[in-house]
């Protein structure tokens, strides 16, 4: 997925200006010329200049380079679905793993991903369960990472 440089330039310019506005409120240190606003302020100026260059460059080249150039995957529903499931599964883990527990969340995520990557249902579930148990054993038992049990807390081992 390629965007015209002007799009990035515009976004960077907005980011730079936002940072410059935010750092205006940072406190001055009495008796000194340098405070916490100086360094991020300089970085923001850099972002603005870089963004402006990209904006101008992209605008001048708008005849020869399209605003958006998509790759092959966008035309393949299977690949688009896989991307959605991939991003969705990380969000799903962040949102529900504390409540649902590691084991159930992980099995669900792996099964869904195996399915969109074209494994059969039976193999998907089987491998998901095995992989989840192995990772759980390695991190929970060996490395003592407090992976959440969630709804399975009464059965914790």
């Amino acid at each position: 997925m390629k965007l015209n440089d002007a799009v990035f330039g515009f976004l960077l310019l907005i980011l730079g200006i936002t940072v410059l506005v935010i750092v205006q409120d940072y406190p001055k240190i009495p008796g000194q010329q340098v405070g916490p606003a100086l360094f991020p302020g300089l970085v923001a100026v850099g972002l603005c200049v870089g963004g402006l260059i990209l904006l101008v460059r992209g605008w001048l080249a708008r005849g020869s380079t399209p605003w958006l150039m998509v790759d092959d995957w966008i035309q393949s529903p299977r690949h688009v679905l896989a991307l959605v499931v991939l991003i969705g599964s990380v969000l799903f883990y962040i949102l529900v793993s504390q409540w649902l527990g590691f084991l159930i969340s992980a099995v669900l995520i792996l099964t869904a991903l195996f399915r969109v990557l074209q494994l059969s249902l039976a193999r998907s579930v089987l491998i998901a369960v095995i992989a989840t148990l192995v990772i759980h054993f390695a991190f929970y038992k060996l490395l003592r990472v407090p992976l959440p049990w969630g709804v399975l807390t009464p059965y914790a081992w």
Binding site: I22, D71, A82, V90
Partner: protein, 498 residues
């Protein structure tokens, strides 16, 4: 000093450390050999595990795994024409052409033997250069460090990427990320948005796992090209004929290793750039350049040595100044801080045994590369057949658990997700990633030395040039900034004159 060396031997030849090294070696060989899994990814995924180890085994695991991964990246390049890691891409076509000619053994053997030799050469330079550089660096003040960090960042943007404006932008993005949190000279919470998690800053390890592992998973999921066919059924004795090659190409080996070490030591440029430059150099100075591209071993010998020597070279600025030479050492610096082995000159004086241990680990890792590498080549057909549609989801789960494990919060998982998506989009649009990482890693150091120097100078910017070493570093840095512009002007006036 002798005591420290003995202590280092005891630490490295401890059964636990040796066991960690063997396991890490197998892991590194596997990750390197599977296309789509890179050596940097191997390092990032190792960190959550090394988090729970003592300092020396942790460093041993990372050094061993990366050295192995850079070698084994050559295997799928040779057999499938797909580089296993970006560091092998320079000579993948050459190696595959050799396989088509029925010389797969020779190509794989050359990759293995000269990887090990290059790695050992880089290690020797590291051993020779690092301690004396550290002694030199112990006299540095904030002015020198300010210019040194700026020079490092400048190298990353101007020397190693063909698109300086985009490189500068990703560098600024990295520096901005480094600003988040309380960790600034004034101790003022910046860009925290009232969130407690962001007070400590954006965790480096979750970000690295996102940029190097999660972004690769995205790339795999969106890849519409079918995977390649394995070209050979059986690989014979790979060591046969290698001694003859070594005698035939001594200059090439030395040149590749030296260039690799040097490129590795330059901040931002790692094994992949070392291999590309070295392959080009080999062709340029070769007596038979017309053979390059048709399955000629010379370029593989030279650039195979270069990419492994770059690994050790990258450790020189990392250990002495805390400035990473490539993205792998950028992660390692994070690990060293976690393990209380803060890089810098004092590491060499306060705990010399740790430094000697690192040297020993490097030597050992490059020595065990030969036998383990032969086993890996034997098993290559099986490794290359590992279904990636099973492997990638499992790696995703590993990434999520690993980022969670660093601070036991889900915030890290969110950072991983965001960093992975951003890295994927930026890379797809030709923004180089290495400057961003250097910005994140060095942002704090740059600001601290800048602010300290500003306060010392009392606003007089000339003070930044008042000490001789600082002034020299400043001149080099500024020269690199203005050279592209001057060259363009010179070219334009030359055209006008003609």
């Amino acid at each position: 000093m002798m005591d420290a060396v003995l202590l280092a031997f005891a630490m490295v030849f401890d059964p636990y450390t040796l066991m960690v090294m063997v396991i890490a070696a197998c892991y590194g060989l596997f990750v390197g050999a599977v296309p789509g899994l890179t050596a940097t990814m191997a390092t990032a995924l190792l960190v959550p595990v090394t988090f729970f180890m003592a300092p020396i085994p942790a460093v041993a695991a990372i050094v061993t795994a990366t050295a192995m991964a850079i070698f084994s990246g050559d295997i799928p390049g040779c057999l499938l024409r797909i580089p296993g890691t970006p560091a092998s891409a320079a000579y993948t076509d050459e190696a595959y052409a050799m396989t088509r000619k029925g010389e797969a053994e020779k190509a794989l053997g050359a990759s293995l033997v000269f990887s090990a030799i290059g790695g050992l050469f880089g290690t020797l330079v590291l051993i020779a250069a690092a301690p004396s550089l550290a002694e030199f660096a112990s006299r540095f003040s904030s002015f020198e460090y300010f210019w040194l960090v700026l020079l490092g960042l400048t190298c990353a943007v101007f020397i190693t990427s063909s698109k300086p404006v985009k490189g500068l932008i990703t560098l600024f993005l990295g520096l901005l990320v480094a600003c988040v949190g309380l960790g600034n000279p004034a101790g003022f919470p910046r860009f925290t948005f009232g969130n407690i998690e962001t007070m400590a800053g954006i965790g480096m390890i979750p970000m690295m796992i996102g940029m190097f592992a999660f972004s690769e998973i995205i790339r795999y999921v969106l890849d519409t090209k079918p995977s390649g066919e394995i070209a050979v059924e059986k690989v014979g004795n790979v060591l046969r004929g290698q001694w003859k090659l070594a005698k035939k190409y001594p200059v090439q080996i030395l040149r590749g290793s030296s260039l690799g070490t040097l490129v590795g030591a330059l901040p931002g440029a790692g094994a992949d750039i070392a291999a590309w430059m070295s392959y080009a150099m080999s062709k340029k100075f070769s007596k038979e350049p017309e053979k390059f591209g048709t399955g000629h071993v010379e370029g593989i010998v030279e650039s195979g040595a270069a990419n492994n020597s770059a690994l050790a070279g990258a450790w020189i600025p990392a250990l002495v100044f805390g400035i990473p030479g490539d993205s792998i050492t950028a992660i390692i610096i994070g690990v060293l801080y976690m393990k209380n082995m803060n890089p810098g000159p004092s590491l060499f004086t306060n705990n010399p045994q740790n430094i000697y241990a690192v040297f020993l680990i490097f030597i050992l890792a490059n020595l065990i590369m030969i036998p383990l590498g032969i086993l890996c080549i034997k098993a290559a057909r099986r490794i290359l057949k590992v279904p990636r549609n099973i492997l990638m989801p499992v790696i995703l789960l590993f990434c999520m658990v690993g980022t969670f494990a660093i601070n036991n919060t889900l915030f890290g998982v969110g950072v991983m997700l965001a960093a992975g998506v951003v890295a994927y989009v930026l890379e797809a649009n030709d923004f180089p990633i290495a400057p961003a990482i250097l910005g994140v890693v060095l942002g704090g150091m740059l600001e601290e030395n800048f602010i300290t120097s500003m306060i010392k100078a009392d606003g007089n910017f000339l003070a930044f040039f008042s000490r001789p070493i600082a002034a020299s570093l400043a001149v080099i840095t500024i020269l690199i900034w203005v050279t592209p512009g001057l060259l363009a002007l010179w070219r334009r006036s030359a055209v006008r004159a003609a």
